[in-house]
Amino acid sequence: MAVTKQEITKLTKKAAQIRKRIVEVTERCGGAHIGGAMSQTDILVALYYKYMKIDPKKPHWAARDRFILSKGHGGVGHAVILGDLGFFPDKDLDKFNKTNSCFAMHLDRTKVKGVDASTGSLAHGLAIGQGMAMGARLTNKKWRTYVVMSDGEMHEGTTWEAAMSGAMFKLTNLTAIVDRNMLCIDGHTEDVMAVEPLKEKWEAFGWRAVEIDGHDFKQLCDAIDQSHKEKEKPFVIIAKTVKGKGIDFMEDLAKWHYAGLDSETSKKAMQSLAKSK
C-alpha cells in the first residue's frame, strides 16, 4: 500500500531514534560497523516498521516474513531495531560485543531472537534468501523474503551466481535491496573494484532493477510496493545511500566502516544527528 505522509513522518522519526541508539550502543560496546549501520537504517526501518509481517512475541512464527542482512557487519543497526521492536529487552544491547552475551558484531540466528540467518561473510545472504523464497513456494507459504546486501558484496562471485538462479527460478516472492553507499573498506567501490553499471548488470542477469534514493522513504516504499507487484522477474532495489548517514563528520568516509567512539566523539555524533534532517 502506498506510503502516506503520516507514515513517512513516523518512519523518519523512527530512523532518527534508531540512529541515536546505534551511536549509544557503539560507544558502549567498544566498536562497531557504524558507517554501514547508518547507511542501511532507512531501508531497515521501512521494512521492519511498515512492511514485514513479524511478531516479536513469537520470533519463530512460521508464517512470518523472513529478513536477511547479508551485509552482516550492519548487525549493530539490525540489533537496535530488533531490540526496539521487543524481540528482546532493549537494555540487553548494553552487552553488545561482550563476552558471553548473545550479541557478536555479526548476529547469530541461534542466539539473537528475530534473526533469520547468521551472516557476516559477504555474499552468502542472497543464496540463503533465495532458498527461503523457494522454500515458501514449495511449501505453499505466503511469506516474503527480504535480503539487504552491501555494494561490496557485488564484488563476490556468489552474488552473481544467486543473481542467475533468482532469474532462473523466477523468485518473485523475494525483494533484494542493495545498500549502495559507494564505499568498501579500502575506499570507493569504483576505485577498488568497479561494480558499475550496477543496475544494468542486474537487468542483464534477468532482474527487474530500480535505482532510488535510499534515504527517501517515499522512494523506498514505492520501490518495495513495486517489488510486491512484480510477477515476472525477481526484484532488486539499488538504494543509493551515504555511509555514516546523519553524522556529518562520518558521511561518505570509508574510515568510518568500523570504529569505536569515545564519549566526546559520541557526543558530537549525537549533536550532528540532532541537526540532521
Binding site: H124, A127, Q130, G135, L138, K141, G157, E161, M164
Partner: protein, 335 residues
C-alpha cells in the same frame, strides 16, 4: 532397513554406489515429501537425477554454481524442507567449505550433502577431480556428521539414516565402481557405531570407505598365516566411535588405519587423537595418501600405489607385527 528398500547383491552387481544412492533417495522421497534434491550440473554423474525423474517438482539444478547451491540449501531448510545436495566431493567440500561451515553448520541447518567421486575414485580424471582432503575439512566443522560408507549397501543405509538425523550430514562416496563388501542389507548400521567385520586380537585395522573390503581381504590372508586381525568398519568419521577404538587399542596395541584420503586430517588422525589422549602404548600405522597429490590412473592402480589395497594392507600388517613398543602400567589389560 530403510523403508521399502530391498537391494540385493544382484542389484549391486549392476548398479554403482551412486546409482543405488540415487534410487534410495528417490524411494525415500516417495514417502518423505520434505526431501528436495539438488545438484550442480551433475544430475547424471551423481545419479541424483533418478530423483529428478520421479519428483521433478522437488529437484533443483543449479548449473555449475556450487557455492550458491549450498547457501540456497540452508534457506530451504528454514522452510522445514530437507535439502539433499549432491556434487563431486572436491567441489562440495573444498570449493564450498566456507558456505557449508557458515550457512549450514553454524546456522544449524538440516542439510544433507552427498559428495561423490571422493578420494581417488575418479582416478583417470587427475588430481583436480580427486578429493583426499574432505574428511579433514568436514570433521573440523562443529555440528557436522561425517560418514564414509564402505559400499553401496552402506550408502543406502547412510542415506536413510542421514534423512532421519536432525542436523547437517556429509556423506562421501566413490565414483563409483567400487566392489561391494556386503551381500545385502541384512546387517545393523547406525551413525557413529563401528562394525567389527573381522574379529581379532593381534592387530586391528580401522578402515572407512571402499578400503573396508580391502582390509577384510588382508585380514583373511593374515589369518592363513596365523595372525588374528580385527577389522573395524569405521563408516562414521564424526562422531567417531571412540569406544571401539579404545577397545581395539587395549585388545591389540597394534592399530592400522586405512582410508582413501590424505593421512593428515582424516580417519587416521581421528583415531590417533583417541590413542594419544588415552596415554596407552601402541603402534600406529596410518595408511592412505601420504600428504601428496595423487597421480592419475585407474583407481585400483592408485590404491595400490597408496598401499590401501589388500596387498598394501597385508604388507602393513606384517610390518606392524614386527614393531616393538614400550609397555605401560596398564599393560595387563592386553589380551
Amino acid at each position: 532397513m530403510p523403508i521399502g528398500i530391498t537391494w540385493t547383491i544382484d542389484d549391486a552387481d549392476h548398479m554403482t554406489q551412486a546409482e543405488i544412492y540415487g534410487q534410495v533417495l528417490t524411494k525415500l522421497g516417495d514417502k518423505n515429501k520434505k526431501i528436495v534434491a539438488m545438484t550442480a550440473d551433475l544430475a547424471g554423474s551423481t545419479k541424483i537425477g533418478a530423483f529428478q525423474k520421479k519428483h521433478p517438482d522437488r529437484f533443483l539444478n543449479f548449473g555449475i554454481q556450487e557455492t550458491n547451491m549450498m547457501g540456497f540449501a540452508s534457506g530451504l531448510a528454514e522452510a522445514g524442507l530437507v535439502p539433499v545436495v549432491s556434487t563431486f566431493a572436491v567441489f562440495a567440500a573444498l570449493r564450498c567449505a566456507e558456505h557449508i561451515r557458515t550457512d549450514i553448520c553454524y546456522n544449524r541447518r538440516n542439510v544433507k550433502i552427498i559428495a561423490t567421486h571422493a578420494g581417488t575414485s575418479f582416478g583417470p580424471a587427475g588430481t583436480t577431480h580427486h578429493c583426499t582432503e574432505d574428511l579433514g575439512v568436514m570433521r573440523t566443522f562443529a555440528n557436522m556428521t561425517v560418514i564414509a560408507p564402505a559400499d553401496a549397501f552402506e550408502t543406502a543405509k547412510a542415506t536413510a539414516a542421514a534423512i532421519e538425523h536432525d542436523g547437517p550430514v556429509y556423506i562421501r562416496i566413490g565414483r563409483s565402481f567400487e566392489p561391494p563388501y556386503w551381500k545385502d542389507l541384512n546387517f545393523d548400521w547406525e551413525i557413529g557405531k563401528a562394525i567389527e567385520i573381522r574379529e581379532g586380537t593381534d592387530l586391528a585395522v580401522i578402515a572407512c570407505g571402499w578400503t573396508v573390503g580391502n582390509a577384510a581381504e588382508a585380514a583373511d590372508r593374515a589369518k592363513q598365516q596365523g595372525l588374528s586381525v580385527r577389522v573395524l568398519d569405521m563408516h562414521t568419521i564424526k562422531p567417531l566411535d571412540e569406544e571401539a577404538v579404545m577397545k581395539a587399542l587395549l585388545d591389540t596395541r597394534r592399530i592400522i588405519t586405512c582410508e582413501d584420503h590424505n593421512v593428515m586430517g582424516g580417519l587416521g588422525d581421528a583415531v590417533a587423537d583417541v590413542i594419544a589422549r588415552s596415554g596407552k602404548g601402541c603402534v600406529l600405522r596410518k595408511l592412505g595418501v601420504q600428504d601428496r597429490f595423487s597421480p592419475h590412473g585407474s583407481p585400483e592402480d592408485i590404491q595400490h600405489m597408496n598401499k590401501i589395497d589388500a596387498d598394501g594392507i597385508e604388507e602393513a600388517i606384517q610390518d606392524v607385527m614386527k614393531m616393538e613398543f614400550e609397555a605401560d602400567e596398564d599393560w595387563e589389560d592386553e589380551i
